[in-house]
């Protein structure tokens, strides 16, 4: 293809030389005419040939035919310089267009170059370099520092840090050790690791992401569909208008037929909406490609359009706005110190595998001398009774305290409360709750700044916890204690409360939010790095689990829509102006081509701005 473009460039250059020679040099009329015709033939013969051939195939209103008619018409009314100039500019425009499209394609390909080229697999004790497609599930691969991890798997040997920047857009390195999962496309930073391959290349995270981005072009945005429909009607309309312009005014006005004919030819020249047909899809493709580098996978241009118009954002709680793990958030001792209370609790819970017990032990952090602990009884539903340092320690719910005879009081904080009593003396309580993600508050604030009208939390958790989170994050609405189908009902209600053309966005972790995700206008799944289910379930997939990415997703989508809109308005406006000026006789034919080509090149270049995402 580059060869073809080079040949064309040579022809255009030769034609231009002939053109300028004919224009500038003092030549006898015959020679000048010959020079013009030669210039025309050299630059335009392929257009004329395509025009004829395409008519034979039944394609009428195509670019080549219209250009051919316009320029042949110009020759017919003896406007030789015009004819040559138009053909020249048109061909130059075609060259620019090919170059720009080629460049955009290469930029997008480079951006998406997260594909690993090789994998080092260990077979019969020997390390061989193969292509990632050739490695089977269960085989062992070796990844050295600096290399991109080629396949999804689990570490068998070694420990290292990995950088997931290529997939999530964040450069925060993560530590990985034996039995940790690693994801294809991430870069191995420090240590050599041996990994057991868990999925074949075509199912690996990298392959899925690439497939997703490529398939995203198939789901067209409303603006793209509009442009396609518009283009189908635009060309015949302009041609019809051209015919009318050539035929009707000469009947009314005094000027000659050829004056109006040349104006009509201008219409033909501007009748191809190529600028729009190429630049609008390119904007969306670039936007989706750029977003994916930031760890925001958008499954279709229509979803990009929808998320840009977000009016209501509905969040799931656990795992989305909160960490999803239990941890000690407060220690409220009654008579002893915090450390002593925690020590008692940890000792009592030291044999339990319950998540609450584990979080207390984690908070304690120190060593628990098991010799201090005597008999431990786990009382189902109530808590634990343990003999510690010869005393009976109770750790559990308020009812356990009642049974022990200790006077306890509840905590104003939300979460799971573990009360501690020694004998019948109340020692205090420990609050264990799910921690809100560090950037959640910032994310909600960011959404409000972007103009999202309503932020809502839907959770199955108890009211106290839900409302506490709502207050902490400054959310507009909170609905707690919801069963899954109640969540769907809530979403339906919120959908009916939408204002204007805004969309409802639901954000969850994808695993058990499937019905709600599909009911919302746009479903966003978070924390998709390594989760197949999340990638399948949602319309937009965020690779990491930080809520602030939601804000970025909306911002990126808006920017892309803005650029697409700029192109549409710009291209249509310039065409309208050129048509008007042409009809009035103010613009010449080659000026019209120049404007048309200029618009097309500018529109294409403008579209590539979508690739750059801050």
């Amino acid at each position: 293809m580059i060869r073809r473009q080079k040949r064309k460039s040579v022809r255009v250059a030769a034609s231009a030389a002939l053109f300028f020679a004919a224009l500038a040099l003092p030549l006898p009329e015959q020679v000048r005419l010959a020079a013009y015709l030669a210039a025309y033939a050299v630059s335009g013969y392929d257009v004329l040939w395509s025009a004829v051939r395409n008519i034979a195939h039944g394609q009428l209103f195509d670019e080549n035919f219209l250009m051919a008619v316009a320029t042949v018409g110009a020759v017919a009314i003896r406007e030789y310089p015009e004819a040559v100039a138009v053909m020249l500019f048109y061909q130059v425009g075609e060259l620019f267009q090919s170059a720009a499209v080629g460049r955009s394609r290469r930029s997008i390909a480079a951006l998406m170059d997260i594909r690993p080229d090789t994998a080092v697999v260990v077979r019969d004790g020997v390390e061989t370099t193969v292509s990632p497609e050739e490695v089977a599930v269960g085989e062992t691969i070796v990844v050295r520092p600096g290399e991109r991890i080629p396949l999804d798997g689990v570490i068998l040997e070694g420990s290292t840090t990995v950088n997931a920047a290529a997939l999530t857009g964040e450069s925060l390195p993560a530590d990985k050790a034996v039995s940790d999962g690693v994801v294809s496309g991430t870069v191995n930073l420090s240590g050599v690791i041996r990994v057991e391959v868990k999925s074949a290349y075509e199912n690996s995270t990298v392959a899925r992401i690439l497939e997703l981005v490529e398939n995203s072009a198939a789901k067209k945005a409303r603006s793209e569909r509009f442009i396609t429909r518009f283009a189908r009607y635009y060309t015949p309309c302009i041609v019809a208008a051209a015919v009318l312009l050539a035929a009707v005014p000469p009947l009314f006005f005094a000027q000659s037929f050829s004056v109006w004919l040349s104006r009509a030819l201008i219409f033909l020249v501007v009748s191809c909406p190529c600028a729009l047909v190429i630049s609008v899809p390119l904007s969306f493709f670039g936007g989706i490609g750029g977003a994916s580098r930031q760890g925001i996978l958008i499954k279709g241009a229509n979803y990009l359009e929808a998320v840009a118009k977000a009016d209501t954002v509905v969040f799931d709680k656990t795992g989305t706005l909160t960490e999803g793990t239990f941890s000690v958030t407060a220690v409220h001792p009654q008579t002893v110190s915090e450390a002593e209370l925690l020590d008692l609790a940890a000792a009592a819970e030291s044999y339990s595998k319950h998540p609450i017990a584990l979080s207390i032990i984690r908070a304690h952090g120190g060593h628990i001398d098991k010799n201090r602990i005597g008999e431990v009884t786990e009382i189902c539903g109530l808590g634990i009774r343990a003999e510690i340092d010869g005393k009976t320690v109770y750790a559990g719910s308020g009812r356990l305290m009642d049974e022990a005879g200790a006077r306890w009081h509840d905590c104003h904080r939300a979460g799971s409360i573990v009360h501690i009593a020694v004998g019948d003396e109340y020692m205090g309580h420990i609050v264990i709750s799910d921690r809100v993600k560090p950037d959640a508050a910032q994310a909600v604030a960011g959404l409000k700044r972007l103009g999202v009208r309503k932020t809502v939390l839907l959770t199955g958790d108890v009211k106290k916890v839900g409302e506490a989170v709502g207050r902490e994050l400054n959310l507009d609405e909170v609905r707690s204690e919801l069963l899954p189908d109640q969540k769907v009902a809530e979403v339906e209600r919120l959908l009916s409360e939408k204002q204007g053309k805004g969309t409802l966005v639901f954000v969850g972790d994808g695993v058990n939010d499937a019905p709600v995700l599909s009911r919302a206008d746009v479903g966003i799944a978070m924390g998709a790095l390594g989760s197949e289910a999340a990638i399948e379930a949602a319309d937009l997939v965020l690779m990491d689990d930080r809520p602030s990415k939601i804000v970025k997703a909306i911002a990126v989508s808006r920017r892309t829509m803005g650029i697409a809109r700029e192109n549409i308005v710009f291209a249509l406006a310039v065409k309208a102006v050129v048509l008007a000026l042409g009809a009035l006789g103010v613009a010449s034919m080659w000026a019209a081509v120049f404007a048309d080509v200029g618009v097309m090149v500018l529109a294409i270049l403008n579209s590539t701005r979508t690739l750059r995402v801050r």
Binding site: M1, R4, R53, E63, A217, A218, C272, I278, P281
Partner: protein
């Protein structure tokens, strides 16, 4: 079934749209998508036979003579 076919020398965006339209009208084809930017054609049909692919290639050649399907 669905098949994704790579294309070469697809230079004209309106040609891509024309090809899409024409291939969609082939017998047995439920959907066709020609992605101008990634130069990939996706055909969905009850069964994708060699005949179908040949017809698709013919359509492409008619619309844009330099364009080829990499089958």
């Amino acid at each position: 079934m669905k098949k994704v076919i790579r294309m070469e020398n697809l230079d004209c965006a309106s040609c891509a749209a024309k090809m899409e339209d024409a291939i969609r009208h082939l017998p047995g084809v439920t959907n066709a998508d020609v992605n101008f930017l990634s130069q990939k054609m996706t055909i969905e049909a009850e069964s994708i036979t060699k005949e179908l692919l040949k017809k698709a290639a013919e359509i492409c050649r008619k619309v844009e003579p330099d364009c080829e399907l990499v089958i």
